[in-house]
Assembly symmetry: C2
Homo-oligomer: 222 residues x 2
Amino acid sequence: MSYITEPELKNSEQGIALFSNNSSLQTGLLAKLIGEELQINCDVYREIEEVPKEISLLLVDCNGQNIEVLTSFIRDVHDKIDDVTAALLNAEHDSDHERLLDWPCVSGLFYVDTEQDQLIRGLHSLLDGDFWVPRRLLHRFLDKNRKAPSNFKRPNVKLTKRERQILKLIKDGATNADISEALSVSEHTVKSHLYNVYKKIGVRNRLEASNWVRDMDDLDTL
Amino acid sequence: MSYITEPELKNSEQGIALFSNNSSLQTGLLAKLIGEELQINCDVYREIEEVPKEISLLLVDCNGQNIEVLTSFIRDVHDKIDDVTAALLNAEHDSDHERLLDWPCVSGLFYVDTEQDQLIRGLHSLLDGDFWVPRRLLHRFLDKNRKAPSNFKRPNVKLTKRERQILKLIKDGATNADISEALSVSEHTVKSHLYNVYKKIGVRNRLEASNWVRDMDDLDTL
DNA sequence: CACCACGGACAATTATCTTTTCCAACGTGA
DNA sequence: TCACGTTGGAAAAGATAATTGTCCGTGGTG
């Protein structure tokens, strides 16, 4: 086998796409700067359709875009272009721009007042597959999303395979009829299993059972 | 029964508690250092019961404690001592110690190889109410916990106040009876509201409604 | 023996749909 | 400005259907 790598070829194939609807003059300059500093191809696009599928990084200029357009753009990126990492440019402080980080495809955010050298450092980081997110936003996300592990005090609830299957379906809102069809058993059987599950995990009804599942630390350990 | 100083009432509200089961000699030195550097009272405790309720910061020494003990200790802190911020000391890299950050009471983490000046800076930050968490862990948390906002496509579901109230209760597993009692209305009314809600948000039953709420970006915007 | 499937019988809860009551906002004419 | 109808939305209630939950069984299978 060969260990030969071809960095030149790689760089020419994969570049940075800069999506912006701003004056092509400034944006072009920025693209040029990025290209020179990172030794990578950086092209400007004004329409999402033009953006090639294979790029290493997609920079989205928030400037001049309203948040709805921006959101739907990011959604498109998330849905249509698989496996691309994106980053926001010229984001406003304490704006809805910051919420776009909820999308798993967005790995970086540069504020409108970011210095050049910071931008370059961030881009390097992003190209390496790392994040570039202001610590403040990371803290906010942690603060908002973490919660006390709730199932760690569930000592030894041993669920059978069938019971686990049914619980997973419950979690997604399946009715008894749905479950009976999905597992090709009678509704009576479903009820029996559920009845046993409720007693095992100590809940009153399917809603609490669903929440029990959804609150698990790790759904796969079910 | 020892050189552990009994904190005075006035100072206890502004002090740091260092919980450790390590050699009192080193730990005592650390407490002394912290006390001098931060100009704050820092006392060592070896039993959770001894830790006073009102402290500004609780440092938990991971060294020499196994993870089960640590976890149950943090749980106790979380459950019993309300409104205290804790931080982990001497955490191992890539260990279960890091998972203790899931507990909302844990705001900081210092690895076993943390330098003195970093520790001091971190403590200052924590005393200011900020976090002190390695960026790597923040990134990992972000990566693991964020997901594409699922309610962005809900165009203009206008829920009334009552409907929002009921949805919030539903989310926590309340039955119609629970809701009727909580809101002091008849069960009939609850059913009507729910019926209307189902149609508005396009779900089949209360379980899907509950999931709809739980999948919201921001529960508060409900 | 634990797990799974199935069934009956009944109770309890939930879902659907219609109707009624209440209240606040709006416009109009005197 | 003040009654007055009118309107529309929300809250509430009633009646009925549908689903879910409880508890008791019976076998079958590895």
